[in-house]
């Protein structure tokens, strides 16, 4: 019984367990690091939720912030800052957001975008 143990090399079953382990870990990465497509776009202005839009539409949204008008575009299930009155344009350079949990912020104009999945429980909504 202990003969097999003397050779320190992995045995057939060990490889099986390692492979199953790898599949298990890969499965965990796939489920928990979801690259799910987002379903909704939530826009915040200052500390308030400005609006939440479905991404199933093509739409331009103009938001009046403290330093001017920020234009947000929704197209093909994605969203981005199209233009902003801020000096550094970081928000515009963030580009398109499409996955659940992604976010972009324009600090100078206090506008932020966050992509939500379909199932996020809301405390409140104001359209």
């Amino acid at each position: 019984m202990k003969g097999a143990l003397r050779c320190g090399k992995p045995l057939l079953g060990d490889f099986l367990v390692i492979v199953v382990g790898l599949i298990f870990v890969a499965f965990l990465f796939k489920t928990l690091w979801h690259n799910e497509q987002a379903a909704k776009l939530q826009i915040r202005l200052g500390d308030k939720i400005y609006a939440t839009y479905s991404l199933d539409q093509n739409r331009n949204i103009d938001i009046q912030g403290p330093i001017g008008i920020t234009r947000v575009v929704i197209a093909d299930g994605k969203a981005r800052f199209e233009s902003s009155p801020c000096p550094n344009q970081y928000c515009v350079h963030q580009g398109w957001l499409s996955h659940k949990g992604q976010a972009a912020i324009c600090l100078p104009n206090q506008v932020s975008l966050e992509l939500l999945g379909g199932e996020k429980p809301f405390d409140s909504l104001n359209y």
Partner: protein, 183 residues
């Protein structure tokens, strides 16, 4: 098994067992302490080299001895590091208990096909699950760490394989020395 009252009466039979458990537990505690001092890339990710001793004992002796060594290691190390009954201790204990429970069943796997690597990987996964349960239900009671689980489990797999290889090696270079005095 190591029982002081029993020990004083029947010295010949229990004493070697107790001594052996104490020696092996001391070895495990030593490894545990070394690991506690080493910096970890991430809280919760540790190689768990002390588990090599648990596995070695499981193969060379039996499950009861392995359980003794493992639990003595958890309690004694926590006293030495001074985190007894702290969250770190709870993590360690939960991990050790679940890992032992897994080993209890895994020891019956056919040894022709499954070596210490299998047991080590399973124990490492169980250890991680035990810790994560404590974290989820006590320390951080929301799903905020969910996205770290894959990282933890990957670490468990890698260190499980490494510890298993080391255990195999250890079992090979010390060929059943203890089996003789075990009788």
């Amino acid at each position: 098994m190591p029982n002081s009252t029993k020990n004083s009466r029947i010295e010949i039979h229990t004493s070697p067992d107790d001594h052996r458990i104490a020696k092996l537990a001391a070895l495990a505690i030593g490894l545990h302490l070394i690991e506690a001092v080493l910096p970890s890339p991430m809280p919760g990710v540790k190689p768990g080299i002390a588990n090599i001793i648990t596995l070695f004992v499981l193969y060379r002796f039996d499950f009861a001895t392995a359980a003794w060594v493992s639990l003595l290691r958890v309690f004694a190390s926590s006293l030495l590091i001074a985190n007894f009954l702290s969250p770190t201790f709870a993590l360690s204990l939960a991990g050790a208990l679940l890992s032992l429970a897994t080993l209890f069943f895994a020891q019956y796997l056919p040894r022709r096909y499954f070596s210490a690597i299998t047991l080590s990987v399973l124990a490492a996964f169980a250890h991680m699950v035990g810790q994560l349960l404590v974290v989820r239900f006590w320390l951080i009671p929301h799903a905020g760490i969910a996205y770290l689980i894959p990282v933890f489990m990957t670490a468990a797999l890698v260190f499980g394989v490494v510890n298993g290889l080391l255990t195999n090696y250890l079992l090979r270079i010390s060929p059943a020395k203890f089996d003789e005095d075990k009788g």
